[in-house]
Every structure is written in C-alpha cells, then in structure tokens.
C-alpha cells in the first residue's frame, strides 16, 4: 500500500509536434498530450483488503471499543436518577381527582402532592425534568406549526403570523402570539419539591429556572418584539393569547429577562422532541456547598399544580431527578452498545483469523516463484 509515481519513460517520450523542436514545417500532430491525467496514470494508492490490514483493524476496533464501553457503562451507572409518574390514572394516586375533574375553563387550579423517598443522596447539581409519554411532538403537522420569525420578534409576523400556525393562528380576529399548535400545547403544570426532614418539617427546595434552554435559543432564536422595550404588555397589545393558555405570553414570569418569548420554559417546550416519549428539563437544583449533598436521602413531596390534561390520548406525566456526568445523563445503552460492538469485532477478528489460517489460500499462491 503505497503511492508510486509513474515513470514517464515508458511512454514513447515523443512530444507532440506542436511543441517539437524546429516545428516550422512539421505537421501539427494530433497526438494526445502526455499528461498523467489524460493517460489515466495519476499516482495512486491502491488499498487492498489483506489479512494483514483487515484482521488487525478488527482487533483494534475491538480493543478500543470495549474499554470505552466499559468506561461509559460505569459512568452511566454512577449517575443517579429518580423517576416518578404523577399522571393519576389510578384511583389510589394522589392526582387521580385532578386528572378526572379537569376542564379547560376551571379557574381554580387543582393541586395534588405526591410523596416519594430517595434511597441515595444526590450529589452535585441535580436536574429536574418533566417527562411526557405518548405525546407526539414529532408529528409532521405539529412540528411545523410555529412561526419562527414571530418568535424571533418580528413585528409583522407578530400581527400576521404564518399560515403554518393554522388553526392556532388567530382568535377573535386577533393574531395569536405565540401562534401554532406547539405553543398552544405548552406544558403548564407547576412542580414544587419539598424535603421532609426526619422531624417532619417541610423545606422547600430552591429550583433554578434559568439556564435550562440552549444559549443560542435564548439569545438568538427567540426574541421579544420591540427589542429592549420592557413594557411587554404594550408590545403584545392587539394580540391574543393561545387558546389553551390561562394567561397571556407577557405574564409567563415576573422577571422581565424571562418573560414573553424568551421565557425559558417556553423555549424548552418549543424545541420539539424527536420521539413520542420524551423528557424536558424543568428546573435545576444547584448544589449549595460541597459538604452536604444537594438532595440528601429521605422523604420528599412533589407538589403539582395539575393544569395539563393527558388522559384523552393516554399520555403519561413523569417527574425525573437526575445527576449528570461528562457524558451527559444516564445512558446505559451507549456503554452496552460499545461493549457489544467491540466484542463482536473482536470475535469476528478471531473467526476471520481462523478462517484465514484454515482456508485462506491466497498467500500460498501469491508467492509463486518467479
């Protein structure tokens, strides 16, 4: 396997008549140019699958993949994750009532609290997710039902949203802001977490709602109309709130940095999931100091303001707590896959080696004496 240059001497070395010496009387030769390209003899490298290259490749792949896989698997196992379903489909479930009595028009929010206990303390930052199942955020019509230029603060789009948003484009002859099915179906349960210490005291756990969206989304993709105008009420005047929403977009949060289109919960929701079972980052629980774990083991209560109906399509709602590592969240699949592929490669290498030794006959014939 090596590049080798062509020896031009093998050609007849005759230069074309046009450039030939003393060409005055010479008839113009039609002889094609003697260039490597035209004569199809560019220097080239001919890779060839030989036992000497393929078998080591298999072993090397195996030897690289298995350690990586083990590393990934161990890392993944060290990540702590806790998941609780609060949909309330069971009679016994605390949220059963809320899920049964849901109506879009009720003014008083239904609240329920779910208690659970953590067996192990959660060190370092803990990430709190909400998870939905059977929710087709990846449906073609759903995915495109948004207006990115409206979300980017474009004034004309604000008043006159894209047709893609139908049927959530206008209501009462006023443009909906934000328009579209995605925005309309914004997840609006409120989750609160309380630690119940052994004495029975409830301690509210502080949940950070900033930093849960991509930086580019928050600062580039999503912008409030009117630029730095802090009076969002005026900006969104003449628009209507999405049908399912309880309050308009400019009242999502009191913090002006997190209100309107740049509300991070909203941004997270707008980044549609690829699969019908998905989780989205809800809050971050920051570690306070290095001495105590962020979430010590013990009993907790999850207080849910139950606003989001999923019973109609047999959806499920979950709350997930997780720590992360360098490679992200808990992900046993990757490690197992790496180990598997690595082993298969190694095994294949062995099998091929045996086959090659036993039946491979090329080497015998290749060394025919000259």
């Amino acid at each position: 396997m090596m590049a080798s240059s062509y020896n031009a001497k093998e050609e007849d070395g005759h230069h074309s008549g046009a450039s030939g010496p003393g060409g005055g009387a010479a008839v113009k030769s039609k002889k094609p140019d003697n260039t490597a390209f035209k004569q199809q003899r560019l220097p080239a490298w001919q890779p060839i699958l030989t036992a000497g290259t393929v078998l080591p490749a298999f072993f090397v792949i195996g030897l690289i993949f298995i350690p990586i896989g083990i590393g990934l698997f161990v890392t993944s196992n060290n990540i702590k994750e806790f998941e609780i379903d609060y949909t309330g489909t069971d009679m016994s479930s605390p949220c059963f009532n809320c899920s049964q009595n849901f109506s879009w028009n009720s003014t008083t929010p239904c609240k329920c609290s779910v208690s659970f206990s953590l067996d192990q303390p959660f060190e370092s930052n803990v990430f709190m997710y909400y998870g939905l199942s059977n929710f087709y955020q990846n449906h073609r019509r759903y995915v495109k039902s948004r207006d990115d230029s409206q979300l980017n603060g474009d004034k004309t789009s604000l008043r006159n949203p894209s047709k893609e948003c139908e049927p959530y484009r206008t209501s009462d002859k006023k443009a909906i802001a934000p328009c579209g099915a995605i925005a309309n179906s914004l997840f609006n349960d409120t989750l609160d977490l309380f630690y119940i210490d052994p004495n029975g005291n409830r301690t509210r756990i502080e949940l950070m709602k900033k930093g849960i969206a991509w930086w580019t989304d928050k600062h580039v993709k999503f912008r409030n109309p009117g630029g730095n105008n802090l009076n969002l009420t005026a900006v969104f005047q003449d628009t209507s709130k999405p049908v399912n929403w309880r309050k308009p977009v400019y009242e999502l949060d009191t913090d002006q940095e997190n209100n309107g289109f740049i509300n991070e919960d909203f941004i997270v929701w707008m980044r549609t999931a690829a699969l019908p079972t998905f989780r989205k980052l809800y809050r971050i629980i920051q570690r306070k100091n290095s001495m105590t774990p962020t979430l010590p083991r013990g009993n907790y209560t999850l207080e849910v303001t139950y606003n989001y109906p999923v019973r109609s399509f047999e959806g499920r709602k979950r709350m997930i707590l997780s720590t992360i590592s360098w490679m992200g969240g808990k992900n046993p699949f990757l490690g197992i896959a790496y180990i598997t592929v690595g082993s298969v490669c190694f095994f294949l290498g062995v099998v091929l080696l045996i086959i090659h030794q036993k039946y491979g006959n090329r080497n015998n014939s290749a060394d025919i004496p000259n």
Partner: protein
C-alpha cells in the same frame, strides 16, 4: 455537386464512382475501364468493365451531349453482381448487364477517364441499398438502469401506500385522541382522507430514492470515458497521425462486455500489401531470417539493390545469400526469377526511362514480379506475342506462344515462351498439391525438400506457390498448338477441352522451387487476436475474399491453427448439402466431446504433459477460447458455468456449448445464404458458436449484416463489428439490430500516409471514411482494439457498475434516514418491517438506514447533554443522523475505491469538508437572523456536535455499518479471490519486496512484456500443408493479354492484330461466368480440410517463449484454479528475462478471462513500477 439520374459524368483515374453509372465510353481502347471494388464487396482484385460498342465512340463532350438514348432497367435493388436493362438508342435495342455498370463506391483504376450515364443516384444506388439505417443504441446498463428505476418507482409507490396505511391507522387510533393538542386540519376531517393526502406527501418526500440525477451523472461519466479514449496515446497511430476517436459517448461500458467480434479482412486485419518473403530454390531455402516480430537482431539490413537501376525501392529482402546466388549466376536461381518475370499477366507501364509501374490484377502476382525485378530479372514490357525482360541488364525478348490461364480448378497458370535462342519452354506456377502431381519422377528428392520448406512457410501463414518448367521440343509444341487451336475453336464444352489440352502439356515438369508471399497483416494482429480469444471473445471474420485467401489469413493471424481438431468447410450450393454439412460438423464435435468425457482421466494426464511440452501458443489460445460459451458479460455467472474437471452429463444442446474449442468453421457466401434462411439459422448458429473461429468468405455486405444480426438476436451477447470500407458499413450499422458497438478503422493504407502529409485532411485515407462515419469508435490500427476492449471497455464497465451500486446505495441510505427522522416514531412499526421488504442491492442501503436510525435512537432517547439538557430533540437527532450518514457513506465509497488518486482524495475529503461547512453555515446565527423561517436549525450544529456523546454515537453507527461490509468483503477476497484481486495482491507483495532491493525492475518488466508479445508471433510450426494458389485472380486475363486488347495503341506494335479477333475474349469470359455463377468457391482439394486431427489436448497449453524450458510441474490440472491462472502475471517478474509457465488450467479459463482484463486494466493505468505488461503495451513502450 448534384448528380441526378440521366446526367452524364466524367470520372478520372483513382476517383470514387459517385453514382451507379452506365459506362458509355472511356479513354482506353474498346471502351474498357478498370475498377476496384474493394469498398463494395471487399474483393481486392481489379475488375474490367466495358461499354457497349455503340457508345464507346462517344469520346468527346460534344458527341456525348448529343446522346439521347433511353434506358429501361430494373428497379433499385441491393444485388451487387446483377443488373439488367435495355438501352434504346437510334431505333435499336441494346442489352445492358452488370458488365456495363460502374457501381457507386468503386474506384477507377488504370483508366485515364471515362464517361458514364447516371442510372441510380443517392439512396437508390446499390451501395446505399446495401447499407442500413442508423438507430439509437442503448447499452445493457442503460436497460438495467431503466428497469431498476422502474422498480424503484414501484418501491416508492409501495412505500407510499404502506406509509399511508400507517398514517391512517395512527390517525384513527392515536391522532383522533390527540386532537386537543393537534387538531386535524379543517378540510381533512377524517383519517381516510388524511391517509390519501399522506400517500402523496410521502411519494413527494421520498422521491429522492428515484435516482433521476442518475441519468445525468451516467452521461457525464461516459463523456469522461470517451475523452479518456480520445486522449489515449497508446491508441494513437504515429504514422497516420490519427488518434483514436470515440464518436459516441454512450457505449463505453459495453466495450467491456463484447463477446463476439465481427471483423472484415482486407484493410482491417491485413494491410492489403503482399510482400515476397521467402523462397526455396532448388532445395535451398532463402529468406529465413525474415520475421516481423522479435528477431530484430538477426534481421540485419535490407538488401542493397543499387546495382540494378530498375529496382523498386520499396522492395525489401534480407537474405544476402539469395542475391549472391543471383550474382554468381547459379542456373536454377536464374531460371527461378526468369519464370517469375515471364509467367504472369501483369501489365507494365514505363512512364519515363527506368520508372516502371506494374499493373497487376492481384497483389500477390505484383509482388512476385516485383521480386524478380529487384533480383535483376526486370519485366519491362509486353506485346500480345512477346515479353521483354531485362535479364541482369541485358534486354531479352521472348516470344509468347501461349498463356495457359489460371482458373479455380487448375489452380495454376503456365506460359509457353520461345527464347531468343529458339528454345521453347513452358513455365508453370501453381498450388503445390497440383503441381507436384505433374512433376517428372526424377524430381522426387527435390520435391521432398521443397515440400518441407512449403510446410514451414505455410506454418508461418504465408501464401505459397510452387514453380516448375518444362522444355518442349519444336515438335511437341507444334502438336500441342494444333490441338489447342482445335479446342479453342470448339463450340461445345470449350472449357473442358481446353482444360484437357492444358493438362496434356503440363506434364513431366521440372521443379524449380517455391515462393512464399506474405499477405501483410497489420501490426500486432496475431497478438491482438490471441489476447482477445484469451479473453473469451469470439472472432468471426466476414470477408468478400475467396475462401483460400481467407483461410490463409486465418492461419497467419492465428485464428486457425494446426492444433485445431478440425476445420469444417461448408460450401454447398444447395439447402440440403449445407444442412448436411452443418449436421455433420456438429456430430463430429459431439462425438469428440463425448469421447473426451469418457477419456477424461487420460486427457488430464495428457494435459500435464502438454503443459511441460509447450506446444506453442496456438493451443493455448484454443484451450482458453474453448472454455465456455459466452464470454464475460456476467463473470459470476460464468464462473459457475465453467467446465470443471468432472462436469455432470449434459443434455445434447448444452453439450454443444461445452465443447472444448479447437474447431473452426469456414463457410462460403453461397452456403451462408442458405444457412441464414429462417429454418436453418438456428442450426447454423449452434454450429458456428461451438466453433472457436468462424470465417465467412465471399459474403456480400448485406450478408455481413445478417450474420451480425443473427448472432445478436439469438445469443443475447454483445457484438462488435469492425471494418474499414464501405462494404462494412452495413455490418457496422446493420438495419434492424445494429451491432452493439461499431468500429471503424481509419484505413488509408499507403494513401492514408500520403494524405496525412497534406495538412488538414480527415483522420483516414479515402478508403476508410465511409466506415468511420458510420462508426462509434474509430482508430487506425486493428491492434488498438485490444486496448479499447480490454482496457477502456473494462474500466468503463467496472466504473459504471461501481458507480451504479454506490449511487443506489447512497440514495437509499439518504432517503431512508434523513427524512425519516422527522416522522420516525410515527412509523416505527413500518420501519422495523422494512428489512423484510428490502431486496437485491438495496438491502445494504436499508441496513445502513436502519442502523443510522436506531443507533442514535437508542443513544439519544435517554441521553442528556453535559449541561443537563436532553438530547432527544429532533434537530439534534437530525444533525446526528445526517452526520453519521455522510461519514458512513464516505467510508463506504472509500472502501469501494480501489484506486486512490489525488482526485479521489480531493473529492472524498472535499465532500466531507463541504458537508461540515454547509452544515455550520446553514445553522449559523447570521443566516437565521436574515431568514428566520427558512433556517430554523440555528445553533443546532454547534450545540450538537459539541457533545462527546454525539461523536460516540456517530462512531458507533459508522462501525456498525461498516464492519459487516468489511468482514464480508474480506471473506470473499480471502476465500474466493478473483484473479484481479490476486494480481493486485501480488503486485503489492512484489512492490514491498522490491523496495529494499532497489528500483532495477522497471525497465526489465517492460522487456519481459515484450517477450510475451514476441513469443506469440513466432510460434506454431505447422505440421500440415495448406498452401494454395491463393491468388485473388480472375481467369480470362491470359486471353485478354494475348488478344492484345488491353494494350495501349501507343505501345502496341501490332495494332491491327488486336482488332482482328477482338470479339472473342469478353464473350468467353461472360460465358464462363454464367456457367460458374458469380462466385467460384473452389473445390476443397488444397483446403485446410486435410489437416491431421490434432490430439485432443484442448485443455491447456504452455504459452511462452520457445526456448524456455517448461518449468512449474506444480501446475497440475488439479491444483487450485487460480494458482495456475495467476502465472501469466507472475511470470513477468522484473528482472527475470524470460519467464516461463503461462499455463492456464482448464478450470481457470474464466479466471484467465477476468485476469487478462484485470491485468490490462491494472497495468496500463496502474503506476506500479512493475506492471504486468500486455504485449501491446510493451511494444509501445519502446
């Protein structure tokens, strides 16, 4: 120029006849004119045409303008040898025949000018009636592509239906419940309608599987290949200054699949130049050193004929001993050349003193007379009754008493002359078989020696003639002359009586010696044919020439060899006899095939012996050529078809296919006419295709086309027709089924060379342009065919196949993944069942897309970034999958590329680079801020590709996709390598070996290649006699000469004598023609039928230089097939000057085919230091 029917046009010497003309008058006496019809029917001898005597006086334009005759004739037709019509002029009727016609495409020769009346013009001419229409040609790859695209379209519709059903189910089961968040569009209020819409959306979305751009890409690739053909210096003819030209771009890859080649003879295989090459005088052989190939060192300088002022400077002879003998005055030598200078029908013309021009009606006769001229016996002039010869500077005039003319049965001609001393002598030259019977018994010893020489000459493919003389006493002559006159005067059975009279006098002759004339083949023809037949390509020669000529050429270009089991001659004139002949031929083949099956064991042993004995190249080609029915269109399939050592008993029909070569078929035009009839064509085809070589002689242009068509129709094989003249045009583009590939050789002969001196004239001489214009490829030498087929054809074919596979793969992988990601889970079920649907070449694509979907799916569905944000949003997913796809596809194409040039590197790395560049651009903030709706992926690329998990996923997906492919290929390569793989591998090994040893091998390997070529030509000692009087001769010329009719008045001493009995000769000629029919295939006495049946050592041979003792006893027939097949490549190792062992085992026949192509392909392009050379390459390398 607007030639219309009724015009009278004037033609000058060497001009093409522009339309079918009625000859009115000519500058020659008696309204004679000479034409050459090579362009029309391939016959090279000159023909005579004569005008009606009433019109022959119309010489000056004024009289011609007054001509007001009326011609009534047959409608336009394609019969070249027949015309019938009537001329009404001045109240009388004159019958018109073909003898009065000049057909379009003929060339006027030896006639200053003539006038003709246009009878047919334009498309009505017989030439045009013989040619067909052009038709757009498609290659088999095109057809495959079309079917594939149709299948893919069907697949697309199926996918659409399945997905629509999936959609309906989903909308009904899930979507209807999900309406609170995603209501149905107002007009689409039920799931069925939604499914209907979904069907169309999927058809549109998935349309990328239908490779529309494929057609464009394929055309671009073909265009590139065409340019490579045009640029190929190895197909450039220095002498004619003509590069090869691909006149069409669409057929390149078809070149790699050619199985049958139909070749013209004259001008294509041969140069149509005869040279006097060797002779045997009085038991002494001269001229032995001549050999066009190899033997350069022994050859020495051409003889110096400067002592002879009348010598022809173009004549070359290399054996000094002959000239010495002449100078020493050895009587037999003198007599030998005297005979050559006297016994012929050549006309001479002396334009100025010492500048002789001979007009020979056949080129071989011209060659003989020219030889005598150079050796000092210069034929200067003749009158009807004398011949003047300059014998070593001394003019001698012989009285010409009689010419005993040539005909096909006699196969000899004699003259009876009286020398100035008054002695009467008969000189005879003719086919040795016939001549030897008529020798005086005292010649026995000399005859044996000469016979050996003749065998030798015949083995070299030379045309031989034996020469003899007889002294006659005055009395004998008088008696005979009396009987001769009586026979001449006879009205009935004139021929028979004359023949008997001739027979009488041609007795008890004394043998002088023999001549050997080489019908000069084009450069490299035997090698090319050998290599092509190694590649299992069958070559059929279709020629207008006579049987003997064609067979001789067949031998000299190694199509026919003495090692062949049998050469079947079919020249019956009736349906029955042809059928009978064909049946017999087949029976013979079947018989031997059966007996061969029986005697398999012995044969195998014999094979091993043959291997070590090295009985020459011929059998090598035979062993290979016989190896199977159709050649390499489908190698895989062919491999299975190979006759392995113990083939299962085959039914008779397939038995014919499996017959192991070594047969040849020679069929004449008459028989061919019967054989091509509907009820017999299958029979003919079966027989012919079982033969290794087929020669059809005396065929008309239309028959050429019919033969090509026949093979095309029944054989499903790719055919190629190659020819040079207008008579090949119909074959080149035959009417209903044009040959798949048409080739025109830019043929010009000596004229071509002359033409290229004038600047700006087209690529070919005058003769070839018609064929070139009708052709798809044109070049100027037959041997370039080898490179065109085996190098360019193979490359194009392989590249195209690889391209197609990759293209389909790429399209499928692309469509199935990139679009899926938007809808994936929706149709999970559908996609998991997809592999079931996967078929044929698509399974790999499907596999890849499934992997590319499910691996990221598995990983990302649970993964989160290292800042806690989940990765499972669809934009991330999209970027991951797309990136994996691009990387996998790139790796895949890297695996497919066998040959990495800078351009490949550029494009592979470039496309990866371009992908990332475009990705980041599309996902950039700037573009988003300008067009927020179009570039909604803002930021995805950096957010996604910054994650280690994503890269781990991509790596995983790539490995999962590639590892099975890699393992599979390795297994295939390791366990069942094709020869090309092996060749590459051994090259690699050798390169590695050589590296420490220095670079000495380069030049040597070229030399070693030369050996291959050199060896080919010189082999093949013949054990048989097949010499013949192969003159392209017509009888009647003797009479023409003695009558003095063709003498110019100026040079004619006895003008009155000429006019006296001017009537008879043409009539005689006509009578003979009518009796014999237009063509006269001779009886096969001297034909190759007498070849002793060679032992059935069909299976193998040793092909190598003679002087190399055979080595490698290891190549036993039972060894692994390719181990011996590899040998040709390995044998040419650098440094080893003459390596042996070109053994090709029976089982490896197909491998060899592949290998040769492989070798050819790899070599010429491969810049490896020691390319396994092909003969052609090495010969050019000097």
């Amino acid at each position: 120029m607007n030639v219309r029917v009724g015009d009278i046009i004037k033609l000058e010497n060497n001009q093409f006849v522009a339309a079918d003309l009625l000859l009115l008058s000519s500058s020659e006496p008696h309204g004679l004119c000479y034409i050459e019809t090579a362009e029309l029917d391939g016959e090279t001898n000159m023909k005579v045409r004569q005008s009606l005597s009433v019109t022959s006086e119309l010489v000056d334009p004024y009289n011609l303008a007054q001509f007001d005759g009326e011609v009534i004739c047959e409608p336009p037709n394609n019969k070249l040898d027949r015309f019938c019509g009537t001329l009404y002029w001045r109240e009388s009727k004159y019958g018109l025949s073909n003898q009065n016609m000049l057909l379009r495409g003929c060339v006027l020769r030896n006639t200053e000018s003539c006038y003709g009346l246009v009878i047919f013009a334009g498309p009505d001419t017989k030439l045009m009636q013989n040619s067909g229409r052009t038709k757009f040609k498609r290659t088999s790859i095109d057809r495959l592509m079309n079917t594939l695209v149709l299948w893919i379209f069907g697949f697309l519709v199926c996918m659409g239906v399945i997905l629509a059903i999936g959609n309906a189910v989903w909308e009904k089961e899930v979507g209807s419940l999900f309406q609170s968040y995603l209501p149905w569009d107002p007009p689409v209020d039920n799931f069925l309608f939604s499914a209907f819409l979904a069907f169309w959306s999927y058809v549109i979305i998935l349309n990328t599987v239908v490779p529309i751009s494929l057609y464009v890409s394929v055309e671009v690739i073909r265009l590139g290949h065409s340019y490579f053909i045009n640029w190929d210096r190895r197909m450039f003819c220095q002498r004619r200054n003509t590069p090869a030209e691909a006149r069409t771009t669409t057929l390149n890859e078809e070149l790699g699949q050619v199985e049958y080649i139909f070749s013209d003879k004259t001008g294509t295989l041969t140069q149509n130049i005869m040279t006097f090459n060797k002779c045997s005088i009085n038991g002494h052989a001269y001229g032995e050193v001549i050999d066009t190939l190899g033997a350069q060192s022994k050859r020495g300088q051409p003889l110096d004929f400067s002592f002879n002022p009348l010598a022809d400077s173009d004549f070359c002879f290399y054996d000094q001993t002959l000239l010495d003998s002449v100078k020493l005055g050895e009587p037999p030598v003198h007599e030998f050349f005297r005979l050559l200078s006297l016994c012929h029908t050549v006309m001479s013309e002396e334009k100025s003193e010492g500048e002789l021009v001979y007009k020979a009606q056949s080129p071989d006769e011209g060659a003989l007379v020219t030889a005598a001229r150079n050796f000092g016996f210069v034929f200067r002039s003749r009158t009807p009754s004398t011949v003047t010869v300059q014998e070593l500077g001394r003019p001698v005039t012989y009285t010409l008493l009689a010419i005993l003319d040539f005909n096909n049965i006699r196969k000899r001609m004699s003259v009876i002359v009286r020398n100035p001393e008054g002695k009467i002598r008969l000189y005879c030259k003719g086919a040795d078989t016939l001549l030897f019977e008529r020798l005086h018994p005292c010649n026995q010893d000399l005859m044996n020696v000469t016979s050996d020489h003749l065998n030798e000459y015949a083995g070299d493919g030379l045309r031989t003639l034996a020469l003899a003389y007889r002294d006659l006493s005055e009395q004998q002559w008088e008696d005979w002359a009396e009987r001769h006159r009586g026979a001449e005067r006879a009205t009935d059975c004139r021929e028979d009586r004359l023949a008997a009279v001739y027979e009488d006098i041609e007795q008890d002759m004394m043998l002088l010696g023999a001549t050997a004339i080489e019908d000069k083949l084009q450069e490299g023809v035997p090698e090319t044919i050998a290599i092509l037949s190694l590649a299992n390509i069958k070559i059929w020669v279709l020629t207008g020439d006579k049987q003997e000529t064609a067979v001789n050429i067949g031998y000299s270009c190694k199509m026919l060899t003495d090692d062949m089991s049998e050469v079947f001659l079919i020249n019956g004139h009736t349906v029955q006899s042809v059928r009978e002949d064909l049946r017999k031929a087949r029976e013979r083949m079947m018989e031997s095939a059966r007996s061969r099956d029986g005697g398999k064991e012995e044969e195998m042993e014999g094979w091993a012996e043959g291997c070590s004995l090295g009985n020459g190249f011929g059998s090598g080609a035979g062993g290979v050529g016989g190896g199977g029915g159709a050649g390499g269109a489908d190698w895989q399939q062919q491999e299975n078809k190979q006759p392995d050592p113990t083939p299962p008993p085959l039914p008779p029909s397939t038995l014919l296919d499996s017959i192991s070569g070594e047969y040849a078929l020679v069929i004449s035009g008459h028989s061919l006419a019967h054989a091509l009839e509907a009820d017999m064509e299958q029979e003919f085809l079966d027989t012919a295709c079982a033969c290794k070589a087929v020669i059809c002689c005396r065929v008309t242009p239309l028959q050429k086309a019919l033969v090509v068509e026949l093979v095309k129709k029944h054989k499903k094989a790719v055919t190629l027709a190659i020819g040079d003249g207008a008579n090949d045009v119909s074959m080149i583009k035959s009417e209903r089924h044009p040959a798949h590939v048409r080739l025109g050789i830019g043929e010009g002969g000596t004229e071509g060379a002359g033409i290229s001196a004038h600047i700006g004239v087209g690529i070919s001489g005058q003769e070839g342009i018609q064929a070139v214009l009708a052709s798809d490829y044109s070049f100027s030498q037959f041997r370039f065919l080898q490179r065109l087929l085996l190098v360019h054809g193979r490359w194009s074919y392989l590249r195209m196949c690889r391209f197609l596979c990759y293209f389909f793969y790429k399209n499928f992988a692309f469509t199935m993944t990139v679009y899926d990601q938007y809808f994936i889970t929706l149709y999970n079920i559908v996609y998991t069942s997809l592999p079931v649907l996967a078929m044929g070449i698509f399974d790999q694509g499907i596999y890849t897309s499934v992997v590319l979907f499910f691996v990221p799916y598995g990983v990302l569905s649970q993964a989160a970034r290292n800042d806690g944000i989940p990765l499972a949003d669809y934009q991330t997913f999209a970027v991951t999958v797309a990136t994996s796809l691009v990387i996998v596809v790139s790796v895949q194409i890297s695996l497919d590329t066998g040959y990495w040039t800078a351009i490949n590197h550029f494009f592979v790395w470039g496309s990866l680079g371009a992908y990332f560049t475009i990705l980041f651009t599309m996902h950039s903030n700037i573009l988003f801020s300008i067009f927020p709706n179009q570039f909604c992926f803002a930021g995805s690329a950096q957010n996604t590709l910054g994650q280690p998990v994503v890269w781990l996923t991509i790596a995983l997906a790539t490995v999962v996709c590639i590892v099975p492919v890699l393992a599979f290929r390795f297994l295939k390569l390791d366990l069942k390598p094709q020869l090309s793989d092996t060749v590459r591998y051994t090259q690699l090994v050798r390169q590695k070996k050589r590296k420490p040893g220095g670079r000495g091998g380069r030049g040597a390997s070229g030399g070693a290649g030369g050996l291959g070529g050199g060896a080919l030509g010189r082999l093949g000692r013949a054990g048989s006699r097949r010499s013949g009087y192969a003159f392209a001769h017509q009888e009647g010329f003797g009479e023409l000469i003695t009558s003095g009719k063709n003498m110019r008045l100026s040079s004619l001493a006895l003008a009155t004598f000429a006019s006296r009995h001017s009537s008879s000769w043409i009539d005689t000629l006509r009578k003979k023609k009518q009796q014999q029919g237009p063509g006269q295939p001779s009886g096969g006495e001297s034909s190759p039928a007498s070849i002793p049946t060679a032992p059935l050592s069909t299976s193998s041979s040793l092909l190598g230089p003679q002087d190399v003792p055979a080595e490698e006893p290891a190549h036993t027939p039972l060894g692994p097939a390719y181990s011996s097949a590899v040998t040709p490549t390995l044998a040419r190792s650098p440094g080893a000057d003459s390596t042996g062992g070109w053994a090709i085992s029976l089982g490896a026949v197909q491998e060899a085919l592949f290998g040769w192509r492989g070798v050819g392909a790899r070599v010429s392009g491969a810049s490896s230091p020691g390319p396994p050379p092909i003969a052609e390459e090495s010969s050019l390398a000097e």
